[in-house]
Amino acid sequence: MKEELFVSGRDIPNIDPYLNIWHWQIPLYLFLGGLAAGILFFAGYYTILRKEKEMEATVKWAPFLAPFALVLGLFALFLDLKHKLYFWQLYTTVRFTSPMSWGAWTLMLITPISFIWAASYIKEVFPKWDWKFDVLNRFEAYIIKNRKGIAWIMMILAVILGVYTGILLSAFNARPLWNTSILGPLFLVSGLSTGLAAIMLMSKSKYERKVVSRLDLIMIAVELFLIIHLFMGFLAASEVQVEAAALFLGGDFTAVFWIFVIFLGLVFPAVLEVLELRGYHIPVWIPAVLILIGGLVFRFVMVEAGQITRFLY
C-alpha cells in the first residue's frame, strides 16, 4: 500500500522541513562542558588520593583550562538563547523535571569552583603573583587548607555536569535518536575521555602520562561498549528508533560517524596508546588531539542527527 503525507499551510523557519533549532552553539557547549567535567573530575580524584606530586598536570595545570572551557561554553549557550535579555529567569526557579534547569544550577556552582581551584594554584605557576588585598590572601590560605573538601564537591558536580550533557538530549522523547537513557553515561564517559586527552597534552611527566593513557584506554573501551549498546537498543526498539539508527547504518551520517567518531576518535587513538604503552615512541599529541576532535564531532553529529529524527511527517 502506498501512503503519502502532504503538509500545507506551514513552512516555519528552522522547523520545516526538519527541525534545526539548535545550531553549532549547543554541540560546542556540550563538548566544552564535558571537557571541563573530565578535567575537574580527575583533578578532584587525584587530590583526594593525595597524588598531587605524581599527577601534577592532572591536579594543577589542566584545571587552568576548565574555567576557560566553562566560560566559553556558557557564552555559546547564551548565544543560543533567542530571548537573551530574559536569561536570568533560569535562576528564579528550580525545576526538577527539566534537565536544563539542573544544568543551569550545576554550572552556577561549578564555574566559580573551577576559578577558585585554578586560582589556588596560580602562585605555583607565577611565583611572583600578588593578590594585592589581604582578604584574597586569607581566602587563598583557606582554600589551600580545605582543598580535599573542595575536591569532593568538585568531583560530584563534575559527574552531574558530565551526565547532564547527555540527559539534556535524552529527556526529549520527541526525538527518537536522543530518547535513550544510555546517552547520560555515554556523554559522561566521552567527557572524561576528552578531559584525559587534555591532561595528556599538558603533562610533562612520563609516569603521569602512562597513568592517564591507561585510564583513557578504559574510557574508550567503555565508550565503545556503550555505543554498541546504543545501537542494539535502537534496533530492538520501535520503528522510529530503528529509523534513527538507520541514519548511522547506511544513512546520511554513516561516513562522518564511523570515520571521525569511531575510527579516528576512538579506535585509532586507542591503538596508538597501546603501542605507546608497549614502548613504541609515538608523539603524545596525536592520540590526544584525535580524541578531542572525535569528541567534538560526536556531539555535532548527535545534535544534528537527533533533530532530524521524529514521530510524524
Partner: protein, 173 residues
C-alpha cells in the same frame, strides 16, 4: 478539541483565521493542514486533518522548560508566559508534533486555543470560522459539551500516542 476528518475539506480557513486573530508573524503558523493520501490511483483514499498543539495532558514541553514559562492552566490548556521564556528551544525539541515555533521577537509561541476568546465565552477562532463545522471544542470532562458529544458515537484516534504525551486533539475517522 475534536476534528472530524470526514468533514474537513482542507480549505485552510482555520489557518488564516488563527493568523489573523493571534497576529501570527508572516511565515509562521499555529495550525496547519495535513493531507494523508493512501492507495494507488484510481483507488485512493484521503484523510484531511486540521492540526495544532495537542495540549497534552503529559506535556513534555512543560516538563522540559527550565524556567516554568511553559505551563498548564486550569482546564488543561498549555500556555507560554512570554516574559519568563528565555528562548532556549528545549520545548521545541521536546514536542513530537512540532507545534511550537520561535517567534521573531525571541520567545516561543504556539496555539493557545484562543484562551482570550474562551475567557469571554467565545469559541477559538479556527472553530468559529470552519465552513464545514468539522471542529468541535469544549470541556472533555463535561458530558454535554460539543466535543464530548462529538466523540460519543464515533471512532477516533490521536496522533503519535506512542510518544507518551497523552495528546488532547481527537481525530474522528
Amino acid at each position: 478539541m475534536a476534528i472530524d476528518t470526514t468533514k474537513c475539506v482542507g480549505c485552510g480557513d482555520c489557518v488564516v483565521a488563527c493568523q489573523t486573530e493571534n497576529n501570527v508573524p508572516h511565515g509562521y503558523c499555529r495550525d496547519w493542514i495535513v493531507e494523508n493520501v493512501a492507495g494507488t490511483y484510481p483507488n485512493v483514499e484521503i484523510e484531511l486533518r486540521s492540526e495544532r498543539c495537542n495540549h497534552c495532558d503529559n506535556a513534555p514541553c512543560v516538563r522540559c522548560c527550565p524556567t516554568g514559562a511553559s505551563h498548564i492552566v486550569e482546564g488543561g490548556i498549555v500556555m507560554v508566559t512570554h516574559e519568563e521564556c528565555i528562548g532556549c528551544g528545549a520545548c521545541i525539541e521536546s514536542c513530537p508534533y512540532d507545534a511550537r515555533y520561535s517567534h521573531p521577537e525571541g520567545y516561543v509561541d504556539k496555539c493557545t486555543f484562543c484562551k482570550h476568546r474562551i475567557d469571554n465565552g467565545q469559541l477559538p477562532a479556527c472553530v468559529e470560522v470552519c465552513p464545514t463545522k468539522c471542529l468541535y471544542f469544549g470541556d472533555l470532562d463535561d458530558p454535554n459539551s460539543d466535543v464530548s458529544k462529538a466523540l460519543q458515537n464515533r471512532k477516533w484516534k490521536v496522533l503519535a500516542p506512542e510518544a507518551g504525551t497523552k495528546p488532547q486533539l481527537y481525530f474522528l475517522t
